[in-house]
Symmetry: C2
Subunit: 305 residues, 2 copies
């Protein structure tokens, strides 16, 4: 299958000025704008990240790239290329591969991202897709999870919760937003929300050795979270709880010094809204603060691997 | 499982001067010596590349990295880092992961190669390991498959055939040899032998738009190939045929202009022998030439994907 598929694929992989040598040789050679490279990798599998027969293969392929671009966004890195490895069932593998690549290449096009090769095989098992994205840092530097300081405001892009209703596959990684924010504002620390707003925030807290107070009434709760809460037959999960722990929102959490945060909230320079949800504090731990001033521990929730 | 495993793994991943930011954040940031990066990826699966219960997991992990380093060697690129993604059965996955990483990290150590992160998950299926290797070009430039010219000698490192007896897992990728050859000799084209000596040579022929004549009595046949031929119960496969088509030798095929080829053969500068096996010719196609002068078409053989 590989030869037939590779012919199909090659015709769909245009040359790109970033290639000193494109795919088809033993490896690809990429031109970078500097001497740093940023690298991240995610592997999705049938049964955990998508379900064969229920998931749209185009969206699966798209997501496999999108989650990696979201990681680059969380570093404020510019995407340079991606490599894509597929493991496919012998039955129907070619159709699956073409559909996954269809969705993946559409997203790659949106970000002018060349595919620098990969590996495609069939086996007696279910579908696996692994994508490694390569980025580069810009002159504005890159973001870490460490670096948040007490007093920094906690800002987020977009809305949270209920991504299972569709956004988990259709989200647009915040690459452009991150590059713009990094160019125009001081950002002390950042991450993207894959596991859950509070759980991913707790990763910043661990790396930065500080705590955070979240204002529950400031959390931007998505329409999807409200819809889930309204239709909840099984449990008393509120829309807010969905927002705090559902995950796969792929929005950014940012630690921003107060001056820049206030300017950023005022200017709202992105196509997506930026909201303040709380502030970083000296005392370790995560706390919820009500509008009235009550302060309670807030156990981070989300998808634990 | 992932958290427990990641703690185990982090303790085994030392910091490296090449990391501007090591694994553990949303992505890793690498320092390069220039503004080029070389990238290649391979995915191995249980059933095709190894067999659970029969294969040594340490060797499987080692091989997953080694095949990628062999691709970098085929470009004369210096390895910079690798990212490793594992998909593991829920039953016994932790033990498998630790064993695979054990073998992989030993090889990484040999090449002073840092692991820049990756992804580890469990599922209801069998084991998959995907490795992406990142390299950089040196001041000596890099090798392509294209570039072989009529008159160039065909040189190879090492011996061929019968890698199934063990070398397919234990081979040392020719990274150091490639860098040394690239620094000291003119090399017009190169590839590594994964699918089979003649099949991989045919990739150079296609890319370089030329043909090749091979001297059958010059092929360096491995002891393993002879052992396979001696014990062949099933068919009349000669040791030479094993050498021409078995694959997974992970030796280099080089197109070298005559002056440099003669000097190289005389100097034998590597720890591994370099042999001449024929020459590139204008006429397209692959030909076998006997010592007496007889010339016959030689259909490329090897593992076709």
């Amino acid at each position: 299958m590989e030869t037939e598929f590779l012919s199909w694929l090659r015709a769909r992989l245009p040359d790109h000025p970033r290639f000193l040598l494109g795919p088809g040789d033993d490896a690809a050679v990429l031109r970078l704008a500097g001497d740093h490279c940023v690298v991240t990798s995610d592997m999705l599998n049938d049964g955990t990240d998508f379900i064969s027969g229920q998931s749209d293969w185009r969206l699966v392929g798209r997501k496999a790239l999108a989650v990696n671009l979201s990681d680059l966004a969380a570093m404020a890195a510019r995407p340079i290329a991606a490599v894509v490895s597929l493991l496919l069932p012998r039955q129907g593998g070619l159709q699956i591969a073409q559909a996954m690549y269809g969705g993946l290449l559409d997203l790659a096009d949106e970000f002018d991202l060349p595919i620098a090769g990969g590996d495609t095989n069939t086996w007696d098992g279910r579908t696996v897709i692994s994508v490694t994205a390569i980025g580069q840092t810009t002159e504005d530097g890159f973001w870490r999870r460490s670096g948040a300081r007490a007093g920094d405001h906690i800002l987020v892009t977009g809305h949270f919760g209920g991504s299972i209703l569709g956004r988990q596959f259709s989200f647009v990684p915040r690459v452009r937003e991150a590059l713009q924010l990094n160019a125009e504002y001081r950002i002390h620390a950042a991450t993207d929300v894959s596991d859950g707003l509070t759980l991913d925030l707790s990763h910043i807290l661990e790396s930065s050795a500080c705590g955070a107070e979240l204002r529950m009434d400031w959390i931007p709760v998505s329409e999807d979270a409200r819809r889930l809460a309204d239709n909840a037959g099984e449990g008393p999960s509120s829309a807010l709880e969905h927002a705090l722990g559902d995950g796969e929102d792929f929005e950014l959490i940012l630690a921003v010094p107060p001056d820049d945060a206030i300017r950023l909230l005022q200017e709202q320079p992105l196509g997506v809204p930026i909201s303040r949800i709380g502030q970083f504090v000296h005392e370790p731990g995560l706390w919820q603060v009500e509008a009235g001033g009550t302060r309670l521990p807030l156990p981070p929730r989300g998808f634990r691997h």
